[in-house]
Amino acid sequence: MKTLTDADITRIRSEFPILNTTVKGHPLVYLDNANTSQKPQCVINALKDYYERYNANIYRGLYELSELATAAYEGARLRVAQFLNAKDDCEIIFVKGTTEAINLVAQSYARPLLKPGDEVLITALEHHSNIVPWQLVCEQTGATLRVAPINLQGEVIVEEYEKCLSEKTKIVAMAHISNALGTINPIAKMIAKAHAVGAVTVIDGAQAAPHTAIDVQALNCDFYAFSSHKIYGPTGIGVLYGKKALLDAMPPYQGGGEMIKSVTFEKTTYQDLPLKFEAGTQHIEGVIGLKVALDYVAEIGFEAINHHEHELLLYATQLARQHNLRIIGEAKEKASILSFTVDNIHAHDVGTILNHYGVAVRAGHHCAMPVMEFFQVPATLRASFAFYNTKAEIDILFNALQKVREIFK
């Protein structure tokens, strides 16, 4: 098994400039990776390099700079296709992020399809960005939104999920990994069940992409979405994977330049995939940076990443128990996300105090208000670990939590 040694971690940390900064005189302890991840020097350099050497619009120029930019952009698409193990690189659509990817599917796939009586099924642990687009399209079409429940560990109750499925179910949309709880859903099994009733599956992979190898062909999902900024790449860029046959049959999401073959006032013909879904000038440097980030992650390897992050999760969970924190989300299969509350102290008070010791965690509802409601907490604290975090940082977190209790004794 490939693991990360202390020397590896030291080297990796030195490759992330921000990890060597301080906050209020304390070294930064960045434990909000599920929110957004930090960027390695190579990603930062790739953006700089693009602007310094070959900034040009793609597809549109016959000159060398544009050719270089186009090659880098399309090279990144190939890289993403390989990352997801897509069959064809035209199945990779660049979008702003997971949120836009889900909205695209809701509006271009679901909206023309859904009729009153049809159902869209989600789960009770979804991020708002996998709830609201479906509510909108249900409102627009008269379809019904259904929600598969979770248990007190924060796991989707698979038997209940199956009961929610019927021939009325047209779409099943669910997170691969929950951002608020860390739960890893058994999506391969859940996708198969959805397909058995003829539903199309949309997977929110925002939290999964940074932690696990993804194989969209093995999963057999119909759509898969993730965001670059959570996987060490630039912000403002993300990916929608869709099966070619589905994407081909869908109308464009937005109209504009680049997505057309010809335009007259009477009739416009659209580009083939993937350009049909990429209207207007794209986030070129974002795409280029994402490729470099994927290369960086691949070099470390998911096996080593998983192993290290899992150790951090176990270590933090054990300390949380010793410190009598209330852990929210205790799924058997869990990613390196620890949500918790401290006595009756409001999460924002805790977050403010932790910040004073250089510790960055998320304090809030994590864009998952229904999850907070289920566990009857207004907000939680969430420490989420990346491969560059260390046990020493977790110790700093727990020492700072001690201070919180001293202040609130």
Partner: protein
């Protein structure tokens, strides 16, 4: 401990958080309003009684939230007692100045304990929620007040 933190979580604030004053439902209220900050989850419901001569004769609140928001609501109910409506507006302005403006020598009495919030811009909205709710109640505004903007 860090000086800014000591300033923020002063004993008076912690004590009001533990034992909020005038907590509950006011029976004979003739003004009320709600405040809610969805990101924080802070909730305040404020009820007042204003007499014919425009003095505030009773104030009570209910709610839940962080230490800063609860202490702020609690201290608000204390300080408003027997103030006129005009004085309440003046206090609102002065409190706002204390939190967001330059340190001043405004004689705010007990409310001065919130001066430390000035150093924590992200927490100003917690301290001002009760006060904006008060303003809505005085104006008889039937909207739920929030002091948050933007998204998380």
């Amino acid at each position: 401990m860090n000086d800014d933190l000591i300033e923020l979580y002063q004993e008076v604030i912690m004590e009001h958080n533990r034992n909020p004053r005038n907590y509950g439902v006011l029976a004979n209220a003739n003004r009320e309003a709600s405040g809610f900050n969805p990101l924080c989850g802070d909730k305040i419901h404020l009820k007042l009684h204003i007499a014919a001569d425009n003095t505030i004769t009773a104030v009570m609140f209910e709610g839940s939230g962080c230490a800063i928001s609860i202490a702020s609501a609690s201290l608000l109910t204390e300080i408003l007692h027997r103030k006129t409506v005009a004085e309440a507006y003046t206090l609102f302005e002065q409190f706002h100045e204390l939190l967001t403006g330059h340190p001043s020598d405004i004689p705010l009495g007990k409310l001065a304990v919130f001066a430390g919030v000035n150093a924590f811009p992200a927490r100003v909205k917690c301290a001002t929620l009760a006060w904006h709710t008060l303003k809505a109640a005085l104006l008889n505004n039937n909207v739920i007040v929030s002091t948050e903007t933007g998204h998380e």
